[in-house]
């Protein structure tokens, strides 16, 4: 570690688990972490973990965590030297990166020019192809009204937004007759989400694995390739579970992926953590999807197998430090899996839910890491991402990591709101996932809406409920678990106070 802290104070322009993760890195580097919060986050975990927090506006993200003006004001007020954007929110916004630089501060991320170049997925596709990296067959120019280019590729196809991300503006089209309608709605969605309705088309790769390569670059031209992550367990084109190494990647494919990732990275002048994402088809061919020059949600699995602190290194390279030999020659040990605990109902299309956390116990013990953004009593806000916590396990090999994941899930206890824990507990014993031979269709084809409640589960749940009710007739629990609407809860709490 460097003898002097890279910065005196650093502003974390985010909330939830990732803000806490960055605060932890700051503590270890000797940096004073400064948080930001909206009106409803004044007492949030990330605020309590920081040395100080600046209010940046009302609950709506657009007026607080997404407001460049408010965040820059907070940075000026608190006298920080650097700003870490985390992931999501302003992390890939070139205007924000520029505003941070214009304020005379260091942006923990790439330059605005790099964000602009990579933010346009279509332009990124072109530069990857020019660098000799295979891209998914399709158009490299914007799709006009002419459906000819799409029909040439052959169905099924994926329509994608040039300014895309997070699955928005994305449409699968199976037949020519559905094309026109899908193009219109993809354009509308892209325009609403990104202010840019430009779309392009790619051939549908199915079955496919979604694999990404973790990179770390410094300001001195060094680039570390820190292994791959398999992110094929997805719903709504968004990741739920990630593991490294990927069970689908052979040593030969790994070499090819790393080479492609290096080539894509060389098309831009970047210094930061970054990932290059690929699809892998059934024959082991890989195709470039996109490059993200920010911290990924799932960075932790790479940290577990390499022993490196990616967040600390992001901050150190932002301060101008050079990557050391132990980073550039890092090797991996064992197998790591991350599962994301979301406030979502997996039995109802993973629909987001909200509420108050009335029970919260996270797993512990050997090889288990928890990055949580909530705690017992937290009221989950509908304005923000429903990620509750990331649970990561590390073990000597994949079977041992699966056993550890099962044990960790059995120790995980959450009450008060719907979570995807039921899906995760099913996944660990699913034969496709357990064998490692699965693809991005796993949830749609194997889980669907989840298995029906078994008689055994029903009778055990009944026994637990009856036992609690019978006991409750003589002794009330210390904190009455609450059900129903937020307004109902509030009214009940008011009533109890009187």
């Amino acid at each position: 570690m460097s003898p002097l802290p890279p910065f005196g104070r650093l502003l974390i322009a985010n909330r939830g688990e990732i803000a806490i993760r960055i605060i932890r890195a700051c503590r270890e580097l000797g940096i004073s972490p400064i948080a930001v919060h909206s009106d409803v986050d004044g007492d949030a975990l990330h605020v309590r973990a920081a040395d100080q927090s600046e209010r940046i506006g009302p609950a709506a993200a657009a007026e607080s965590y997404l407001s460049i003006e408010a965040v820059i004001d907070a940075a000026r007020r608190s006298g920080v030297e650097a700003v870490h954007p985390g992931y999501g929110f302003l992390s890939e916004n070139p205007a924000f990166a520029r505003a941070v630089e214009d304020a005379g501060l260091v942006f923990v991320g790439p330059s605005a020019a790099v964000l602009e170049a990579l933010g346009n997925k279509l332009a990124a596709r072109r530069s990857a192809a020019e660098a000799g990296v295979p891209i998914v067959p399709g158009t490299t120019v914007a799709l006009g009204d002419d459906t000819g280019p799409v029909e040439e590729i052959g169905f099924p196809v994926m329509l994608k937004a040039a300014a895309g991300g997070g699955g928005r503006g994305m449409r699968r089209v199976d037949a020519a007759k559905d094309l026109r309608l899908a193009m219109d709605s993809a354009r509308r969605e892209a325009l609403a989400a990104f202010g840019d309705g430009t779309i392009y088309v790619e051939r549908m790769i199915a079955p496919a694995r979604h694999v990404e390569v973790q990179l770390l670059g410094d300001r001195h031209g060094s680039l570390a390739v820190l292994g791959e992550r398999d992110c094929s367990v997805q719903r709504r084109h968004q990741k739920l579970v990630e593991e490294t190494p990927s069970p689908a990647v052979s040593p030969k494919l790994r070499t090819a992926l790393f080479e492609s990732a290096r080539r894509v990275a060389a098309t831009v002048d970047f210094h930061n953590a970054a990932t290059v994402e690929f699809l892998i088809d059934g024959d082991g061919n890989h195709y470039f999807l996109e490059m993200n020059t920010r911290l990924q949600v799932e960075h932790g699995v790479t940290e577990l197998v390499t022993g490196l602190d990616i967040v600390a290194w992001q901050i150190r390279v932002a301060a101008g430090e050079a990557l050391t030999a132990d980073v550039l020659e890092a090797s991996s040990r064992g197998h790591a899996i991350e599962f994301r605990l979301y406030a979502e109902n997996p039995y109802d299309d993973f629909r987001p839910t909200a509420g108050r956390v009335t029970a919260w116990r996270m797993p512990d013990g050997p090889g288990v890491r928890v990055d949580a953004g909530v705690d017992y009593g937290t009221e989950l806000r509908p304005e923000y991402d429903p990620l509750l916590a990331k649970v990561l396990v590390h073990a000597g090999d994949r079977p041992a990591a699966l056993a550890r994941m099962r044990r960790a899930l059995d120790e995980t206890r959450v009450g008060g709101l719907e979570t995807d824990a039921g899906f995760l507990r099913w996944l660990v014993d699913d034969s496709a996932f357990a064998s490692g031979d699965y693809d991005t269709s796993l949830i749609a084809s194997r889980w669907v809406h989840g298995p029906a409640l078994t008689d055994e589960e029903a009778s055990l749940a009944s026994a637990a409920a009856v036992a609690t009710r019978m006991e409750g007739t003589t002794e009330r629990p210390a904190a009455v678990p609450e059900t129903g609407s937020n307004w109902g809860r509030l009214a009940r709490r008011e009533a109890l106070r009187r």
Binding site: G166, R168, R236, Y347, R351, P352, T353, A354, G355, T358, A359, W360, R361, P382, E383, Y384, D385, P386, D410, E411, T412, R413, V414, G415, G416, E418, T419, A421, G422, F423, L424, R425, L453, E456, E457, A458, S459, L460, A461, S462, A463, A464, A465, V466, A467, T468, R469, M470, P477, A478, A479, V480, P481, E482, T483, G484, S485, N486, W487, G488
Partner: protein
């Protein structure tokens, strides 16, 4: 246990015999069902007749009814089916983006009433049955919690 009738999703269920509930943390409802050497982790929340038991990560709504409550519940559901307006409630929390209907509109079953944006998704709220809109309790731009009433159908 004979005093209680248990229903899950409206269906009668028999509590598993021989299992004892042991609390790890009573205040949070974190415990284990124990039967000899077998142990099943559970989270229990609720009160009165409405309980939720989390088992293997799955939340299961369980009604535990006394005879008196059973009779009341049965008569209430009969009343509801006979007459009276239907209150359409939010099934997820979020921001009301658009309200498609106005007071006085006749809507068909399945017609879009309004759109709620939650996290990254736009969700259409549809009419559970045909009827006339007699009250709209929310407006575009408003944030609603799960269970909040949105409008009433006559």
């Amino acid at each position: 246990m004979t005093d209680y009738e248990v229903r899950i999703g409206g269906e009668r269920r028999n509590p598993a015999a021989g299992w004892t509930l042991v609390w790890d943390d009573r205040a949070q409802g974190i415990g284990r069902l124990v039967n000899g050497t077998a142990s099943v982790p559970v989270v229990v929340e609720g009160d009165g007749s409405d309980w939720v038991v989390t088992l293997n990560g799955r939340r299961i709504s369980v009604n535990v009814l006394t005879r008196r409550e059973r009779l009341l519940a049965d008569s209430a559901s009969v009343e509801r089916t006979q007459a009276g307006p239907t209150i359409v409630k939010a099934t997820l929390p979020g921001l009301i983006v658009t309200v498609t209907v106005e007071v006085g509109d006749e809507v068909a079953e399945g017609a879009t009433l309004l759109t709620i944006e939650a996290m990254k998704m736009q969700n259409e709220v549809r009419a559970p049955r045909a009827g006339k809109v007699i009250e709209v309790t929310v407006a575009a731009g408003q944030v609603v919690a799960t269970g909040a009433s949105l409008l009433r159908l006559d």
